[in-house]
Amino acid sequence: MKKKSPSRKTKRRTPGKRNKKLQAEGFRMPATVSLLGVLLFAIALFYVLFSSRTEALARQIKIEEQALEDLRRQVAGEEVRWNGLIGPRNLNLALKAHGLEMNWPRPDQVLHIRDMALWESNAGELNVLGQVDRETRGYRLQ
């Protein structure tokens, strides 16, 4: 006669008693809550990422804005200096400093081109428009 396995009977759980291990495993986050948690975490992560990214870009914008302003300032400063340098008073002072004396050309030394179309069609050939004045070695007006 087969002996009944005693364990079955003895191992049978008594009603009201629970397996603690099984009970621990039974605490499961509901799927929707988990999803919500993950979603919130993802949003928070994205927020942090985007925030740091925008902050980095903002810093860059600030640097670029500053650089642009500095360049504008430099351009204005250079323009002031350059215009001062090429101003008539400074040119005169420079001429004097180098001991240069300059005069305007005599009227007979100046070639006036009245017909631009003719000039353009004969570019470089001054004698087409002006007549060489042998006495003054300049060009006489036509």
Binding site: T54, E55, L57
Partner: protein, 573 residues
Amino acid sequence: MKIQALWIRVGVVGLMFTLLFAGLTLRIVDLQLGDHSHLRESYKRKVVFETHLQGIRGRVVDRNGRVLALDEVRKHIAVDPKFVSRHNNPERVKTALSRYLNVEPAIIGTRLADTGRRFSYLEKYVDDHRASELDSFLRENELKKGVVFEKVNTRTYPHENLLSHVIGFQNREGVGSAGIELEMDRFLKGKGGLRVGKKDGHRKEMVNRRSLQIDPEAGADVVLTVDQYLQYGVEEALEKAVSLYNAKGAWAVVMDSRTGAVLALASKPDYNLNEFYRADPELLRNQTIGATYEPGSIIKPLVFAAALNEGLVVPDEIIDCENGAWIYNRRFIHDYHPYSELTAADVLKKSSNIGTAKIGLRMNENLFYSYLEKFGFGRKTGIELPGEETGISRDPRRWDSLTQSRISFGHAITVTALQMVAAINVIANDGFLVQPYIVSEVRDPSGALLYQRKPDPRSRRVLRPEVARKMCTLMARITEQGGTGRRARFGDYSVAGKTGTAEKILPGGGYSDDQNIASFVGFFPADNPALTIVVSVDEPKGDKRTGGSVGAPVFADIASYAAGYLAIPTEGF
């Protein structure tokens, strides 16, 4: 038992947290929805900022695009004496600052020693170059702490005194206050922008929290008809004249005879535009448009031209000049040099007051006055400059029995130099009156045209063309041998013009014996005019103070410079 206690504890902590968060939530809801405007205002003040962004002011350039006025960033240098005393070396800071600033070391020392203050300016409007050098030096030597560099946008005039009465200036509030800066302010001033954003705990802007950014717009560039090099030549000639004749002042206008474009307009003494606030208010007045004076004999060609245009005089006819003294309506009219008889042409050449009065009186009062009006007297020319005077040209109803005879030789009427040059230019411009102008165009920063002056030199006829040509010939005689304006000639050019010596009116009435304005107005080449010029020297001193001996040589100086610079052919363009 233990588990139960644990749960109780967890429950308590949970409850505490729940209460805490509930409290916080309630507070947040209360802050958001409750009436806490004072808190919001306080927050706004600390964090939210609004900055008005200044639009760069447009530039003023000459006819060749050379810059005459522009915006530049400068710096105010200041110190925080308390901070310097605690975190820096005041003695070394003083030495460093005195090397770069135009401030006495003792003054810097005094400012730094005032440690009760947190802010003290040392020098304002330091140019960027010098400020950068100072900044680098301070950084290299670790002396920057407590030294403040405050950026400030300022108007700069690279040529200082040049064209001061034309360009004018912008005041410290950024508003054009004189000259072109005032007249063209609506074009020059940029449109301001706005930036709204938030600051962090260090009071620095958080760019990613900007909620509004309206970019400023730069102002438009104003292009003048003047040429800075020609202007320089004119100003030099006037300076020389003021010095040579020990005069109170001098002024001149150079105008394109055909278009009315003003190529140079100068008034001496002048002032440094970069230091306009130091200038005497009297110096700010542009004498060419703001000073009215009796023109004297320079008006005679216009009286002659009017009579010629009406067929009331013939150049060859003989006019009795009464040996230098003529009683008209019980009052004497005198000539500078007495003449018995002169041809009408010689009346002009010799500048006889008596002869010209007789010619002027051939017209009736209304006709005479209508010519004064046609020549533009008694009203503004309309040039784009503020402060233009109209002069005094009274209606014939307010004339007495002497007025017409007096106006004929330049008394009983006042004019500005610009009116005078425009009036004489009628003769140079085939009998047409042109309106002088000084702004040729206005362009926005992208180069788009906002305004352009299109001269209309043939719209207002005053004289018949043959009369104008005849007058050119007659006026050219004045600068020939025997004429009063011989010294106005230069080079191989033919010059047409007229001298004028006007005694100044005394405040109590009557004319001054020793104060006069010596003038010359004319154009060249006489038979094909290119430039019309007026020159006046105010209160020249010395034996010879007439228009012929003072005004004419200055005219020659200016005209020869202009002829060379503009390469004007002797026979005209």
